[in-house]
Symmetry: D2
Subunit: 122 residues, 4 copies
């Protein structure tokens, strides 16, 4: 996996800030096309930013990892122009299953939380 070849991340303008074994940090700016009918960043946009950090962190060990389940909690809304940052950390790395917690922040406040579990192909 190469961090600079992800068309979907390009479409949404997600940038990789850090990528190490078991962790990843990405960021994106909320643009007018990421806004829902209430003027706030769309849940699908925030999820996609978090999911990309999850994908990078879970694929950082040289073993292909496929997302099987995720849960997400939305705490605060964010508006166009805001910068979103997502940090993925490894909570458990098993032989076939691994779990990651992702914090999503904006303006130094937690705006959402994401938990993802992968199946690792050995």
């Amino acid at each position: 996996m190469e961090a600079d070849k992800n068309p979907y991340a390009d479409l949404l303008g997600i940038k990789v800030l850090e990528w190490e074994r078991g962790m990843a940090r990405v960021s994106a700016v909320v643009k007018p096309e990421h806004i829902n009918h209430m003027g706030f960043s769309h849940g699908g946009f925030l999820y996609s930013v978090a999911d990309y950090a999850f994908e990078l962190a879970s694929n950082s060990h040289g073993v292909g990892a496929v997302g099987i389940t995720t849960s997400m909690e939305f705490h605060r809304s964010s508006k166009a122009g805001a910068t979103i940052e997502a940090v993925a950390r490894e909570t458990h790395l098993g032989k076939t299953i691994a779990t990651y917690h992702i914090e999503i922040n904006s303006d130094n406040k937690r705006i959402a939380s994401f938990t993802g579990t992968v199946y690792r192909k050995s």
Copy 2:
């Protein structure tokens, strides 16, 4: 809320097929820019399609509804060119809290499942 004014849905090419009280059906085609590094549709793309059906269904009662938690399970992968359809159905409509289950299908097979809970502003 008007179904034809959602910039994020436009960005991803999501179309509304049905929208009634407590339900919504949407579809989208997986394009090359929705693909991850393994050649399959990105989890964030599938989530965004399901989330839009969830948003429409939960906002179908004339009361503003805000997503607070979601969970998603990924069953099968889909490739560029595939058509994805998401159907949201209301499982429980309470005064302040409501829950929806969304089925995501492609080629007559269930590819993912989504559960979303909203807070309803009264």
Copy 3:
């Protein structure tokens, strides 16, 4: 796996009503010791009833299945004396991963929803 040898199910008084390939139906009565400080059945009790249906359904194929992630949504409360019924149905059966949706009802009303994913040992 034998449905009649589960000490935890015995402790909580959970009975198996139906158990077939890919499905299971169980029930339990809310007793005074299953009540929380507000007088309603404890979330952990409702979860345990649903989880037992999930365990039975996912272990119905002769292959050992281990729960890896679950999500649960609570819709209505129930009081001491109420009978709770949980039905688990198979949403997706893959070679290594399978997902089940469990409906929890009481008095003909949906009181909670549960989604569980297992890893199957082959």
Copy 4:
């Protein structure tokens, strides 16, 4: 809410170790009746321990809080005789919605993770 008056916690032998504003720490010993057909602590038992920490932490502000959604990830199994400890921490405290992350450990290893969201009655 009084920590020493919870019949369900008594039934499962859950003890309160710490309880402050926005946090709680509880523990329990896995007994033979908490074991599933594979000889490991039942998922419903681990959930109930975590859920009690969640209930205490979310009801620590003098405002009634009701669990609406939870997700749980199981990382490792534990056997009869093991001591389980669950720590709940507040991730976000909003006026009507709050979210908690609960870590479940045994023998200095993370065995499960739990995320819970409540509706706060004002």
